[in-house]
């Protein structure tokens, strides 16, 4: 290959990277603007809504909270108590004990005075069979509680059992150790009830990080900014993603994922598509894509809504090992879903789903770590060939870095203007510091985890969920 050809190739690659970088920046700016408009609109519409109306309404629809549990003995009794303290009237709580090897079931039986009942499960979705059976409480105070003990089948399988058991119109799927705010159900059900021409099939809520917060008896007492940089960086990552990303996708009706930690679904549609896929680690994203695909193929007008209110608090990884494991799984989940539904790609029959959402996720989520890695390798190669202009390198690095900080602080400003959860003195400085540090304390590990995820997906097919070691949200006050 002659020098001219090599130069043309190198020049082309440079321009491709530049175009890709500008596209990423441009997409963030556009999504940020749309998100801001949508959040402002949401605030205006909901600032004078009286959610208490639905609490006492005879026509409030029924909701089942489905929470799969596996070896959650440490905090399961408290977590269930938290779920039972919702202010919504017409709901029940279905805890699916997914073949736990610890004494979760025994603790629940004792704490809630449970007895086994004869219950015929409608096997609309195939699941692993029951183990100990279905339990309800003898105490009328816990009449909303249903415990299902089954053979281990994984989170998706447990959720499917919950779908089979539920007799409600809507289901809220939640991680059992998540802290749900008392008004979460009425806020999440509202989009479904406000629907007119477009049926709402699912609603997602913002997940907030509870690390270092004070939680007592299943209630959030005090919100604190975490101490560790890893946890702080995840907070701003979540805020950026939820407030400046997902709100925009909701507005464009292009939302491809609702957090597995907390989401609400139209049960009939969820069952029509066959429930959660038990063969993927990205079951939360996969079911949304499948439900959307189903509605598109049926030519039924629909939308997937998003609530920016902090309704659900969860524990984020506080060490890099668990963080990398989590992000590895997210990467594998994304790859699995995009591969499974590749028919959507650039397919005008699927409208925004195929022409906007799928391409975005493909190029800016799925391929981003690959392109970034190629970019790093390309840069190293140029360094080796002494082809690098270090002043240009500095310039591009600075513009990317400053844009990251700018975008992050804009996200923080959105949070301060809307929910202002972190009120304590000194948090402002901590926000700025972590905005500056985040590209160094978080992003390299996200990249590494994504690469590992790609490797594990293609070469370690038997790898599944991994272990999230939880400390539990229940903490003593200091």
């Amino acid at each position: 290959m002659d020098t001219v050809t090599v130069n043309i190739i190198l020049e082309t690659i440079k321009w491709l990277f530049l175009i890709y970088g500008l596209s990423v920046i441009g997409s963030y700016i556009i999504l940020g603007i749309i998100s801001t408009a949508e959040t402002v609109e949401y605030f205006k519409k909901n600032s004078f809504v009286n959610y208490k109306d639905i609490l006492s309404s005879p026509i409030a629809p029924s909701i089942s909270i489905i929470a799969p549990a596996y070896n959650e003995s440490l905090n399961i009794v408290e977590n269930v108590r938290s779920l039972l303290s919702s202010h919504y009237a017409n709901y029940d709580v279905i805890i699916v004990n997914d073949g736990s090897k610890d004494d979760s079931l025994e603790k629940l039986i004792k704490a809630y005075n449970l007895e086994k009942i004869d219950y015929l499960v409608n096997d609309q979705i195939a699941t692993k069979p029951l183990r100990a059976g279905v339990f309800k409480s003898k105490n009328p105070a816990f009449e909303k509680l249903i415990i299902v003990d089954k053979e281990n089948g994984g989170k998706a399988d447990a959720l499917n059992m919950g779908l089979n058991i539920s007799k409600s119109q809507y289901v809220a799927c939640i991680d059992v150790d998540c802290l749900l705010m008392e008004d979460a159900l009425q806020k999440m059900i509202k989009p479904f009830l406000e629907a007119d021409e477009r049926k709402v099939i699912a609603t997602g809520g913002v997940i907030r990080i509870a690390n270092n917060c004070v939680i007592r008896e299943g209630r959030l007492i005090d919100v604190n900014f975490p101490k560790k940089n890893l946890e702080r960086a995840q907070i701003i990552e979540y805020i950026r993603s939820f407030l400046l990303g997902r709100m925009a996708w909701s507005r464009l009706n292009g939302l491809l994922v609702i957090s597995g930690a907390f989401g609400m679904f139209d049960k009939k549609v969820a069952i029509s598509v066959g429930g959660y896929d038990t063969n993927t680690v990205g079951e939360d994203m996969e079911i949304i894509v499948r439900m959307r695909r189903f509605m598109e193929e049926q030519h039924i007008k629909y939308r997937v809504a998003y609530i920016p209110d902090p309704l659900c608090w969860t524990e984020a990884p506080d060490n890099y090992k668990i963080f990398i494991s989590q992000r590895n799984r997210w990467t594998r989940g994304t790859i699995e879903v995009l591969r499974k539904h590749r028919k959507l790609a650039f397919n005008p029959n699927y409208r925004a789903l195929g022409m906007l959402s799928y391409p975005y996720w493909l190029f800016f989520e799925r391929l981003a770590p690959i392109i970034e890695t190629i970019g790093i390798l390309y840069f190293l190669m140029l360094t080796f060939l002494k082809e690098v202009r270090w002043d240009y390198t500095l310039a591009f690095f600075l513009v990317a870095y400053l844009f990251t900080i700018l975008f992050t602080i804009v996200a923080i400003l959105s949070e301060e203007l809307t929910y202002n959860q972190y009120k304590k003195h000194g948090t402002g400085f901590k926000w700025i510091l972590i905005s500056i540090l985040e590209p160094f304390v978080l992003h390299p590990f996200i990249l590494y985890a994504a690469l590992r995820g790609n490797f594990d997906y293609y070469f370690k097919k038997d790898k599944k969920w991994g272990t999230m070691v939880r400390k539990g949200l229940t903490k003593k006050t200091t």
């Binding site: 530049l18 205006k44 519409k45 600032s47 004078f48 009286n50 109306d53 639905i54 006492s56 309404s57 005879p58 026509i59 409030a60 629809p61 004869d118 015929l120 409608n122 096997d123 609309q124 509202k190 479904f192 009830l193 406000e194 629907a195 007119d196 021409e197 002043d391 240009y392 310039a395 591009f396 600075l398 513009v399 400053l402 844009f403 900080i405 700018l406 602080i409 804009v410 923080i412 400003l413 301060e416 203007l417 202002n420 009120k423 948090t427 402002g428 926000w431 700025i432």
Partner: protein
Amino acid sequence: MINFQDFINYYEQSPLIIQLVWIGIVVMFFLVLIVISDLFFLRRNIRKNEAHIKKIQQKFETYLVDYLYSGNPNDEMSVEQQHIIAEIHSLLTTKLNRKQCVISLEKLKNEISGEMALAIQQLYFQLNLKQYAIANLKSRNWYIIAKAIKELSNFNVTEAQNTIALFLHHKKKELAKEARLYFVKLFNFEGLDFLNTLTTTLTEWDQIQLLSELQNFDNQQLPDCTAWLQSTNDSVVLFALKLSSIYNQFQLKDEILKLLYHPNNNIRVNGIIILSDWQVTEAKHILKEMYKTELTEVQEAFFELLENTFEPSDIPFLIENSNHSSFNIQFTALKLLRAVDVNSFQTVLQTAENKRITEFLNKS
């Protein structure tokens, strides 16, 4: 050491794209400084505002409670009350304070009842706060108009009704909703007259809010809603069905029976549910005739009605549906069969496809 002139020379000699990048860096650097300052000022202002709001709310709440407890037995305004009104007036010079005063009044009004609630309402008028709300009805911003309507409805300000009536069918749904709630809150069931001409969808959320207002009234005498059951607007029909059910309008049974032929599945299902609650056996005969051509969800609703109205003559029908594709129908059919005729049930056990259901029923 690089000085500024060196940098200018370097910049001028750089390719266009690098020049643009450096411009971008400078712009973004200053933007970062601006947003960082914004963040600090914002947090400071939020803290200041919250402290001010807390202080002013406490003041208002103290004044209001003092006002309520310093009245004269003969209902005339006492000197102390006049003094309190003057004090509150002096605080209402800013928009924020007026807003907090209204919030305090609304909060207290919701917590008390009877004469004290009326006294709070009177105070709202005496403070002349309604003029601001009425003025806001002319705003170009829908959000401001909606908040004004809400305030006026909370304090039963009837003089604004003609202006607010113009918003009953506004294209902005939230605004139309507030206008409707205003009329229902002030005029009870008469406030539902907008249903006669409604062409847009009355969502379930709207219906919940309307019902919530209606249930606050002592007079629970629902007017005749036959016209609404015959509406061409399906959402109005659905709302009328809910009203019929909640207010036990059994005299509308015949009208609801006609709805069993309605083209909207949801209306048919809701009609069946009400007739099932009322145990209307005529519905059973109508639905049996239509059963085979109905959608599964309507068939399932029919079986719920059958649970309240079944009789031995239904045995062949139950046997026919013991192997229905719907689990719920299968289960109900077999359960009812067992209840009405054990022998037939035992016979069907041999041919029933879903052994799980039959084993479960046999055991329990």
